[in-house]
Amino acid sequence: MQMTDKPLIELVDLHKYFGNLEVLKGINETVHEKEVVSIIGPSGCGKSTLLRCMNLLEVPTRGKVIFEGVNIMDKSVDPTIHRRKMGMVFQQFNVFPHLTVLENITAAPILNKVMSPEAANKKAYELLDTVGLADKAKEYPQKLSGGQKQRLAIVRAMAMDPKVLLFDEPTSALDPEMVKGVLEVIKSLAISGMTTVIVTHEMGFAREVSDRIWFMYDGVIAEKGTPDDVFNHTKNPRAIEFLSQIL
């Protein structure tokens, strides 16, 4: 929405194998600061794997992941430090069931020793306020709906003040009536200038908020461009086929 040309994440010749199965077949892409990138493509083409390689939840077999100028795949680099600057939101929410809503948010800043418990609590309440969950602070996640859990997961990722948020199909596990609220939260973050990479099947949303779309097919980025380029003017037969099925 207000993308810069300053690279934040650079993927250089990225390959990932699971055993003999080559899932990523040479990815060369850059995510710029304040950019919103949507990754679309058929199921099983490697979207989650690509996203998870960005914060090294999956370790690429070959290539470079350069974050803020540092190749975080270097043996000398501790990925833990870099993950603190990259928030991630999962399809299955993965909120911590044994912690209260508030503790879900404060856990990382307190355990990572970047905030005092008081400061972390204050920030957590502010974050909860932005997603309408302040009154649930003392509850356990079990009491929340799917949509509320996902909004909690989003502000939990925000608590470390990340430079980028990675979303892996954040609304795919939600009941239809919950989807809108979660997308609105993501959209308002994107508008506020948060660098965002989102794997999604919500094409309307991708078209509306993205600076760029990556269409992925069989382990490569087969087509990319602005939403208008990809949704209206692509010549790529795979992209045309995919879009005709999903739209």
Binding site: N55, N94, H98, A107, A157
Partner: protein
């Protein structure tokens, strides 16, 4: 027979109670120490370090694959070479602790691996250190799976301590032997001892079920 049982109980009940007390504390010490060491063995077995994980696997397989009675004899014969003045009871206790550490290690490992892998991923994505992930995210959730299994191990251990009566260390089966040789009756004291085991194990498993239900109240 019933009248004999009553007579033996009223005459020898302090012997049986002493035996029960010994059985309970021996089993408890075995489980508590077994849990302490078993935790490290479980972590070693799950470690990425091949040497550690292989050593832990061998340890667990040897202890689970050989009879408890053999292990008791092994330590009862072996330990006095290292510590000449060691008592029979100490040998038995050490053998039980080591045996229990192997079983408990498997309970702990299973309990940890039953935690949704998404929990670890979420914690990793927040930049938590490995030790914080384990201590603050995984273990607190694994405890719900582990505690009931530990309770079962305790019940199993209560029954297993009976094997240690071959060394006459004063637990419930030893009490039976004492009463048998004093009263010249076997079936009656055996029935009494059996009933005591039964009452204890049934009570404990009922208690475990209650605790288990409480633990999962938040799910």
């Amino acid at each position: 027979m019933i009248s004999n049982i009553i007579r033996i109980w009223s005459k020898y009940w302090p012997v049986f109670m002493q035996g029960l007390w010994n059985t309970l504390w021996i089993a408890l010490v075995a489980i508590v120490m077994g849990t302490f060491f078993g935790t490290f063995i479980a972590l070693a077995k799950m470690s990425k370090n091949k040497v550690l994980s292989t050593a832990a696997t061998v340890y667990i397989e040897v202890l689970r694959g050989t009879p408890m009675l053999l292990q008791l004899y092994f330590f009862w014969v072996g330990l006095p070479y290292l510590f000449p003045s060691i008592s029979d009871l100490a040998c038995v206790l050490i053998a039980l602790c080591i045996n229990s550490s192997a079983y408990v290690a498997e309970c702990i490992r299973a309990g940890i691996q039953a935690v949704d892998p998404g929990q670890r991923e979420a914690a990793m994505s927040l930049g938590l250190t490995e030790s914080n992930i384990m201590r603050k995210i995984i273990l607190p959730q694994a405890v719900k799976n582990i505690l009931p299994a530990l309770g079962n191990e305790f019940i199993v251990m209560i029954k297993e301590t009976a094997l240690a009566s071959v060394f006459f260390i004063g637990e419930l089966m030893t009490a039976f032997k004492v009463v048998q040789s004093n009263a010249f009756l076997a079936l009656e004291p055996l029935t009494i001892v059996g009933l005591i085991y039964l009452v204890i194990t049934l009570t404990l498993s009922k208690g475990m079920k209650t605790i288990e239900r409480r633990l999962h109240a938040n799910d």
